[in-house]
């Protein structure tokens, strides 16, 4: 199968030359990327690759077909164009559309190098699997095997159920350790057994003998021991788990749901893929902004011939066009990067600038610091969209780009402009970026009512759940958990619980 869709073809000499030149320039400005392999695809192939999220060897599922169908149609009706796709992988793969004009190809190649640099260097991508192409093919092969074993329909229905829960992961968990590592005991062989005695009695700090009763006062130890015991008794009595609410619901299901072996494997694949794609959602504005910054930079300085300027400008302005309903990540990203560069070039940062009371002086502020380029490289390394906006969005920027927040008006069933005030726009923007604007959901209890029922909690932050979707998601969740499932949320400003027991739904005000 893999060979039939392989597109390993040589890049045309003309494009190859552009690629080498662009790559050299990109490197000379400090961009740092994995080897990047470009391939030229026709429309059908590109749409196919895009439908598969860039990985043509994924497991079979109708949603890829749906995506493909939609992409082909929107393309044919002239609604949208995909010029290119880049895959976060080592080596990076980038796909170009064969009908692009030469100038488009140049622009896209420059754009791709921006993405590749971002993938490699941004902190939020640091834990992604750089051999994902292989991993995805591996997933594909495994799913196909399960299909052979248990049948197409069964696997498909299970995948449908998993996809329904796909985003219930904890995207930050790859960077921090939520639970203590069990095997963390370095140099064990070098130490004597009694050095670890303090580990045996939890809560005791290590101390030299004569300090013992000051560092570990017996009465405190006794109290702590009692508390621990009480908690333990309480826990055993309730028999509920996990101890802390857990956000990675997929992991929880993998550990505790009564899944068959193939189901366990499929769910773990879907979880892996969700984690792989998560950083791309977390850094959409930055990633596109960074790539756009570099394509304009490289093109206007090195790429363009006189004859191409108009087409280039036309294409570029299309990319960064604004629409009222939707913030264009390309536009916000590139402008914000440029804004940062300018501010750090002119010394518009730090206490002196921030505290300057004179707006006129602030607007004219110019110190010859020239730190702009350095700063934006730092920004692309350590930030994600949320911290990026939080840190660098300024009232001036907001006003200059005519940003506004909008809100839903239930009486008119439409979205209306709510405010142009900086604080509100920023708050709304951060709000919609947090968790990609999706609800926060935790597992609170896997043994609810001591009957093995699953109890989830929606952390309410002002926006209610879409109820019909929530109910149907519960159906899918119940398929995996096999016992009744519940979710606590707010309905009409009242804490409520929606339940599904395998046959009927129930909604109760708490």
């Amino acid at each position: 199968m893999a060979t039939s869709i392989s597109t390993h073809r040589q890049l045309p000499a003309e494009l190859r030359e552009v690629q080498l030149r662009t790559e050299e320039y990109a490197r000379s400005y400090g961009l740092d990327f994995y080897e990047t392999i470009f391939e030229v695809l026709d429309l059908e192939e590109l749409c196919m690759f895009a439908a598969y999220g860039g990985f043509p060897t994924r497991y079979p599922h109708w949603r890829f077909g749906a995506e493909y169908d939609e992409l082909m149609k929107t393309h044919m009706y002239g609604l949208q164009r995909i010029y290119e796709m880049v895959i976060n992988n080592d080596p990076c793969y980038a796909y170009l559309l064969n009908t692009n004009m030469m100038i488009d190809q140049k622009l896209v190649i420059a754009h791709v190098y921006g993405h590749c640099d971002f993938f490699k260097n941004n902190a939020f991508f640091s834990h992604t699997n750089r051999k994902m192409l292989n991993q995805m093919a591996n997933h594909g092969a495994r799913v196909s095997r399960y299909i052979d074993r248990v049948g197409y329909e069964q696997v498909e229905q299970f995948i449908d159920a998993c996809l329904s829960l796909e985003d219930l992961i904890d995207p930050h968990s790859v960077h921090i350790k939520r639970a203590p590592d069990i095997s963390a005991m370095p140099h064990a062989a070098l130490l004597r057994d009694d050095d670890f005695e303090y580990l045996a009695t939890e809560g005791k700090f290590p101390s030299k003998g004569y300090m013992e009763q000051f560092i570990n006062p017996p009465d405190v130890l006794e109290r702590e021991a009692k508390e621990r015991k009480d908690r333990e008794v309480e826990r055993v009595k309730k028999r509920s788990f996990p101890e802390q609410p857990q956000r990675d619901i997929l992991q929880f299901l993998l550990q505790h749901a009564p899944l068959r072996d193939w189901q366990h494997d499929v769910l773990s694949m879907i979880r892996d893929e969700a984690y792989y794609f998560a950083p791309q959602g977390q850094t959409k504005i930055m990633n596109e902004g960074w790539a756009s910054y570099w394509h304009t930079f490289l093109m206007t300085r090195h790429g363009l011939t006189d004859a191409e300027v108009i087409d280039y400008a036309d294409h570029h302005s299309g990319t960064v066009a604004m629409t009222p309903q939707r913030l264009n990540p390309y536009k916000v990203g590139i402008e914000l990067f440029r804004n940062i560069e300018e501010r750090w070039n002119n010394g518009q940062f730090g206490a002196d600038y921030e505290n300057c009371p004179d707006m006129k002086e602030k607007a004219r502020w110019k110190r010859d610091t020239g730190l702009g380029r350095e700063k934006i490289f730092e920004v692309r390394r350590v930030h994600n969209d949320i911290t990026f906006i939080d840190e660098f969005l300024t009232p001036e920027f907001c006003a200059q780009h005519k940003m506004f927040s909008f809100a839903y008006n239930p009486s008119a069933d439409q979205y209306e402009i709510a405010s142009r005030e900086f604080d509100q726009v920023k708050a709304q923007l951060l709000n919609s970026l947090t968790n990609h604007g999706r609800p926060f959901i935790y597992v609170v209890d896997g043994n609810f009512r001591n009957r093995g029922e699953l109890y989830l909690q929606h952390q309410f932050q002002g926006v209610e759940l879409k109820q019909d979707y929530a109910r149907d998601t519960l159906i899918n969740l119940q398929k995996l958990w096999a016992r009744p499932v519940h979710i606590e949320t707010m309905i009409d400003d009242k804490p409520s619980v929606i339940s599904y027991d395998g046959h009927t739904h129930q909604t109760k005000t708490k």
């Binding site: 995909i82 504005i285 926006v463 998601t473």
Partner: protein, 368 residues
């Protein structure tokens, strides 16, 4: 060669058509089928399946946009739209679910989607029209009709013949002698004309929902017939106890109350046909929409009128009954009694919005 994506697409389409996995069908993203923008373009949603997930509802939601406008100005409609940057967007551009199409394209799609047969106009082509067709080439003409390719070829031929062509700098400049122009001639074409008479019951029992269904359905019928005939004339009749001929706009907006006498509409339709559309020259279509409520004693009169005066002159007489909370639906039963005797009398029940497709297929599926 079968690619994996073809299998996935195939599977998706089967699901959309409801052939497999019935449970999923409700997630087909529905949208306003009809949203006329400008005169000739409509937007239609592209079907996709949504996977249910825990999502935020509309209430309390919002986002950030860019552009002009005062506070309070609408920026988008509610419904299923996700506000602002809510889309995760993992790789490729945004998801626009609406395509804008011209009416011709739309008719093509409708035709292929519903597998509608093309219509064979009845009778001999009695009406003829003269049309200009650009089907020949001349040496003189206005610049706007210059045939670029031929002109270029002539110029190239001349240059090569005179040895003035240099492949390294392939500059070809046509002279006056090289120029060729498109030229038109008159052709006589048989002309098929169609007339459509829409009748709608606007008595108290028809609600706005039902009218919306009628509106959507008649739009599609229009679109299809228009693609099949050169000239399409439309007439609109609304009736309660009495009938009025109205224009298109009024047809969709009127709301009367009171009783229902369907025969009044039939009289009016007959009058219009006699006045404007001699059946010998015209392909006549009648579409009647009602909730099936009629005054009992009127039914006999209706049946007579229908059998003697209307059905014989029409290509098709279509009756669509929308389900109403108030109507009894008796009229459909009356019609069913005579339906077997007339090939061109077509009945359809439209239960809800989803019923529209089926109904159009029933109406136009005979290729008449």
């Amino acid at each position: 060669m079968t690619r994996p994506i073809d299998l996935d697409t195939q599977r998706f389409k089967e699901i959309v058509r409801g052939k497999v996995r019935e449970g999923l069908k409700k997630y087909i993203t529905q949208g306003e089928i009809l949203g006329r923008q400008g005169r000739e373009v409509v937007s239609i949603p592209i079907p996709n399946l949504d996977i249910p997930r825990f999502r935020h509802g509309n209430k309390g939601s919002g986002g950030v946009g860019q552009g002009e406008g005062e506070a309070g100005q609408p920026v988008g409609k509610g419904g299923d739209q996700e506000g602002g940057l809510a889309q995760p967007g993992d790789d490729v551009g945004q998801h626009i679910r609406e395509a804008e199409l011209t009416l011709d394209e739309l008719a093509d799609m409708l035709g292929s989607e519903l597998e509608l047969p093309h219509i064979t106009p009845k009778g001999d082509s009695t009406l003829k029209t003269k049309k200009l067709r650009y089907n020949s080439i001349r040496q003189t003409g206005p610049k706007s009709l210059r045939h670029f390719k031929r002109t270029y070829k002539r110029a190239l031929r001349r240059l090569i013949a005179t040895g003035g062509y240099d492949p390294k700098t392939p500059v070809v400049i046509p002279t006056h002698e090289d120029e060729r122009f498109r030229s038109s001639s008159e052709v006589v074409l048989p002309h098929a004309n169609a007339a459509v008479v829409y009748m709608m019951d606007v008595s108290g029992s028809m609600t706005d929902d039902q009218k919306q269904i009628v509106r959507t359905e008649s739009f599609w019928i229009d679109t299809w017939l228009r693609s099949q005939y050169d000239g399409l004339q439309r007439r609109y009749i609304v009736h309660d106890a009495v009938a009025h001929e109205v224009d298109e706009d009024t047809f969709y907006r009127t709301r009367e109350s009171g009783g229902t006498r369907i025969s009044s509409a039939y009289n009016m339709a007959q009058k219009i046909i006699e006045r404007d559309f001699p059946p010998a020259d015209w392909n006549i279509y009648c579409f009647q929409f009602s909730d099936g409520d009629n005054w009992g004693e009127d039914n006999t009169l209706c049946m007579q009128k229908l059998q003697n005066d209307l059905i014989p002159v029409c290509n098709l007489f279509c009756y669509g009954q929308v389900e109403s909370p108030y109507g009894t639906g008796d009229y459909l039963r009356e019609l069913k009694k005579i339906a077997p005797r007339f090939e061109n009398l077509i009945l359809s029940e439209i239960k809800n919005r989803e019923g529209i497709y089926e109904s159009i297929k029933t109406f136009l599926g005979k290729g008449k």
